[in-house]
Symmetry: C2
Subunit: 313 residues, 2 copies
């Protein structure tokens, strides 16, 4: 197979699209596709201010690169988690994110969880009962809260994350195995904003992980190769492996699973959202919308921690 | 692990239920479970006449055995498909079904597809464009039609099939990967009757395939060991393999997938059926309900075949 656009030497072969492309055309194609999905799902316009959540990984740095090249007003937000685990994971990912921002003249906001809460993510996880020894649940909660806070306080219209198709298909797969109604009704390329919460979008949601890796490598983006050291053994990795098996048996299986879900939901397969989703109220401390009465989960966690700061030493 | 009821030597160990049972208690337990599901899902009463679709396989013969032991009015229906493929598949399955009925003094109806349509299933498959070379699609259509016809003509209230949990989970998995709304809304332990169509029930839908094999073996039921020769390479076998992998990684995964689906649907996850399902009309030839105007799929197939009987020779 040769590059479909110029007949040149192919750099990336995508059996699920029956498409091969040379390096230059692949580096054009990924932003074109991203632009197509931004438009199709009405994610944002060039007049809106976009905050990209960047972790230092291939997906989020590539997303920032793509949005910048496409001419969107996209600033970055890096959230320092304080994860070291002997490999300096957070230090290295911050360094790579700052280097990328500097090299491209982009504006980057940095939030350190330890500064905001007094503890790093691993310390928070040990100090709470969330997540049974794994910090992933606490980490998700803190990141969501900080992203929402910065977007609101700095007046961004949209929060963009680097979730790729493999991420989205794995989450959908997990929610389907348990038939988690609330999540099935919400998951998608766009989560509309509500008073106090910026719209959330996933411009890479239809692009395979493997293609995002190829993009970052071919574009020469320096990103952190290591997965988060706490990700090993997670259910999302398990679901990704199952989906990879299906994909290798039937190229396109992941994309078709995700797209047919979006299509079925749009055609009215599910009950109206109002009937299932819980009502939201502003948190009495931070003002972010929450389904719990009183404090949101983040502020409840912080409140519990307040008297015990020994983890900080 | 010992038998939970008597502490005796275990014959069947069921990690997904954290349960082991000796032969005698297992042979009691499976009918008890079946009775529980018949009641829970309001499948039928002892006053109703049940027609069991028996293929000569372990599931349907065991179901018939169980319903008979539980004191239900259950007659059998064997549909001869005319599948030989060098192993005398249909002949052998008919012989085993008739032997089971005779040994237990049960009433068995026999329908031969070749007598009804002039052709065997493999011939019908070759003569139509359905199923791209595989007879499974034609076979399903013909079996459904004949089961419905006999149930209606002989005045049965209910049609019971031997689908086990593995069958149901695989079908659900397939319908979920493609998000086939119509099927997701219909699949379940009970499909209510409509004018001209008997209620359809699956009393074994929560029992693992492996347990049904154990039941047939321990009960000494002689059943046909071979799978249908046309089943090899089918998508349902592929989905069963994937589910088996999940089950072996996480015992109970299949059951939880199926049950959480039923639960979510009951709790109103999906839109009301009327909004999605097509309206049904009686077929102008056979009177069975169909979504197509005029003839049903079965009668359309027969009409197309009428002029060409060369396949019969």
């Amino acid at each position: 197979m040769r590059c479909r656009k110029c007949g040149g030497k192919p750099a990336v072969n995508m059996p699920q699209h029956k498409l091969a492309l040379c390096k230059d055309h692949f580096l054009e194609w990924i932003p074109e596709q991203t632009e197509r999905f931004i438009t199709k799902y009405e994610m944002f316009s060039r007049q809106e201010r976009v905050l990209v959540a960047v972790s230092g990984g291939k997906d989020s740095l590539s997303l920032w690169d793509i949005l910048h090249r496409l001419g969107y007003q996209a600033d970055g937000l890096y959230i320092g988690l304080g994860i070291d685990e002997g490999i300096g994971y957070s230090d290295e990912s911050r360094r790579l994110t700052e280097a990328f921002a500097a090299a491209n003249g982009l504006k980057l906001h940095v939030v350190e969880v330890e500064k905001e809460t007094g503890q790093t993510i691993p310390q928070l996880a040990r100090a709470t009962t969330r997540g049974r020894g794994k910090p992933c649940s606490v980490c998700g909660l803190v990141k969501r809260h900080e992203m929402n806070r910065i977007a609101r306080d700095l007046g961004y219209d949209v929060l963009a994350t680097g979730h790729n198709l493999d991420d989205e298909a794995a989450v959908l797969f997990g929610n389907t195995l348990t038939w988690s109604g609330e999540y099935l009704l919400r998951q998608g390329p766009v989560l509309p904003g509500t008073p106090g919460l910026a719209r959330k979008v996933k411009p890479l949601c239809r692009i395979y992980e493997r293609e995002m890796t190829a993009y970052a490598l071919l574009r020469g983006i320096e990103y952190i190769y290591e997965e988060c050291p706490f990700a090993a053994g997670s259910t999302s990795i398990y679901y990704k492996e199952l989906l990879n098996k299906m994909e290798s048996d039937r190229p396109g299986a992941k994309l078709s699973f995700y797209l047919s879900f979006l299509e079925a939901r749009k055609s009215g397969l599910f009950a109206q959202r109002e009937q299932v989703q819980a009502e939201l109220h502003p948190c009495t401390n931070c003002g972010q919308p929450t389904s719990a009465p009183g404090l949101c989960s983040f502020c409840r966690m912080k409140e519990k921690l307040a008297p015990t700061v020994e983890g900080r030493a």
